[in-house]
């Protein structure tokens, strides 16, 4: 079992990082490496489908989001974007996945659903723009998942446990490691890509408006997909994090613990309690109450009908 990034760097110094992760996971969980790779092939395909479906619009469950991917896609198709295509596609694919997620569509949690746009945004955009073999993307998913599994040894991967740093922060860190791997980076560079990405998300709180995975989650996924790409770029150029990855994870856990409860997914602080956030939450609550009342009335009617029906037969 690999217990730290320091240990990972020693074991995988001159080896293929995906191979090392596959070997240790096989030993630890008694799942053959080929089975892990096959499962990730399918997951890459689910991500790909999700991106395609998500490019078109549709309102989210809470009706706060749903048109972002379509707007950006339209601008891109019409040549109205000013960033390079890799960056635009990373944003677009992340938005597409998160749109699907907000409509209760089928997605891949990577590592969570609320942060599920970051990794596919980065990896699928890079695959397309740099004409990388899909199989290499699958191996990058191994690397990203392996990085996440070491982080998960000390941190609970949820906004409720430690804020958004534990979700989108971890996703951008995993994705940055995966991108560095896809671009041929060394093990050390992959770890530093992950470290740079994670370090610069520390303190990010989870304050979803109305408690929904919509605002700020959907757009945040797009922005942090780009953040992860830039972290990988720095690491591939040889820039290193002064603070080692293991200590960054430790800091993340400590920061998460010291975050007030209101900033850990409870929707009782931050953006959730702004004037607009409060008004939206009030509307959502009223709508939910109305639906519940309608449902109760419907059940009452059905029960009444059953009773009358039984009476007719007696």
């Amino acid at each position: 079992m690999i217990e730290s990034f320091k240990q990972l760097e020693e074991i995988a110094a001159n080896r293929d990082l995906a191979d090392v992760f596959l070997e240790t996971d096989e030993q630890e969980h008694a799942v053959p490496a080929e089975q892990i790779v096959e499962a990730l092939r399918k997951r890459r395909a689910v991500m790909r489908d999700c991106v395609e479906r998500g490019k078109s619009s549709g309102e989210s469950m809470g009706r706060l989001v749903g048109h972002e991917a379509e707007l950006l896609n339209k601008a891109f198709q019409e040549g109205r974007t000013f960033l390079d295509p890799l960056t635009v596609k990373a944003e677009l694919y992340a938005l597409a996945v998160m749109g699907e997620n907000s409509r209760m569509g089928v997605i891949v949690a990577a590592p969570t659903a609320g942060a599920g746009g970051v990794v596919p945004g980065m990896l699928l955009a890079l695959e397309e723009e740099r004409h990388i073999e899909p199989e290499r993307t699958v191996r990058a998913l191994v690397v990203a998942g392996g990085i996440g599994s070491i982080i998960a040894l000390s941190a609970n991967i949820s906004g409720a446990a430690g804020g958004c740093q534990n979700e989108v922060g971890v996703a951008s860190s995993m994705g940055a490691g995966g991108v560095a791997y896809m671009m041929g980076g060394s093990t050390r560079q992959c770890i530093h890509a992950a470290a740079l990405a994670l370090k610069n998300t520390l303190g990010l709180v989870c304050d979803p408006v109305g408690g929904l995975v919509e605002v700020p989650c959907v757009k945040r996924n797009a922005l942090f997909a780009v953040h992860g790409l830039t972290a990988a770029q720095l690491a591939l150029a040889g820039v290193e994090s002064v603070i080692p990855m293991d200590e960054i994870v430790e800091a993340m856990v400590r920061i998460g613990r010291s975050l007030p409860r209101g900033l850990r997914e409870t929707a009782e602080g931050g953006l959730a309690t702004t004037d607009t956030g409060t008004a939206i939450a009030k509307r959502l609550k009223e709508e939910a109450n109305r639906r519940r009342a309608e449902k109760a009335a419907e059940r009452e009617r059905a029960a009444q009908e059953r009773k009358e029906h039984a009476h007719d037969h007696s």
Binding site: A39, A110, P111, S149, A152, S154, A160, A161
Partner: protein
């Protein structure tokens, strides 16, 4: 130093699951908790009751946790596109559904106590959805345990007596199957006891039959990995 988890989360746990949105802890994890209750019950439920720890009670509706918990409790997988329809499906099956709030103590925010009843028995579990769809059930029918649903598992309810653990583990050893972890607890010496054995590979029908016919075993449940 941060608390270290005793078992490593796998690559597929981190880079997954494939699931219906919008939240891995509130939708996928809660669906898996419901599914654990359903699998231990081992029959179609007639009643499902969910008692949500206050932080979960505050956030569950917007994440579709109600659909997910009910969906799991009637046997749906986390990636089943019918999860958004789970409550309607359960109502058509004439399942009574109840949601309540309950302070479950010093536990993870996303913790729920689940009581499911079927035609012949009932099961109660308490567990947390700790993120990314990963779960930890720490109470089954009143017994303390550590259940994650990530390997085949044998649950035994029996009368506490000397030699029980060695007899049961011997049957598993006879099959050349490795035990990954084992948890035991009892309510009182010589009274109701519980054993959870996580194994690395599936147990045979024959081994299960032998374990069930071990003296003082009241009930045994064999669960596959919870999808």
């Amino acid at each position: 130093m941060a608390v270290r988890h005793d078992r490593k989360v796998s690559i597929l746990d981190v880079m997954g699951p494939v699931m219906v949105g919008p939240s891995s802890s509130h939708t996928a994890g809660t669906a898996r908790l419901g599914r654990v209750a359903r699998e231990i019950l081992d029959e179609d439920p007639t009643e499902v009751h969910f008692f949500l720890h206050p932080p979960l009670a505050a956030t569950y509706r917007g994440h579709g946790s109600d659909f997910a918990l009910v969906g799991g409790a009637i046997g749906l997988n986390v990636d089943d596109p019918r999860i958004p329809e789970a409550i309607r499906i359960a109502e058509q099956m004439d399942v009574t559904i109840e949601f309540g709030e309950e302070d479950l103590g010093e536990v993870h925010p996303n913790t729920v106590r689940i009581l499911v009843k079927g035609p012949t028995r009932e099961v109660e579990i308490t567990g947390s959805s700790i993120g990314g769809g990963v779960i930890e059930v720490f109470k089954i029918n009143g017994f303390q345990t550590r259940f994650k649903g990530d390997s085949p598992t044998l649950l035994l309810f029996y009368r506490d007596r000397p030699g029980m653990i060695s007899e049961v583990t011997q049957i598993i050893a006879d099959e050349a199957i490795n035990i990954a972890s084992l948890y035991c607890s009892r309510k009182q010496r010589g009274k109701d006891a519980f054993m959870q054995i996580d194994v690395d590979s599936p147990l045979s029908e024959e081994a299960l039959r032998r374990i069930c016919s071990t003296p003082d075993v009241d009930d045994a449940r064999y669960l596959d990995r919870i999808p």
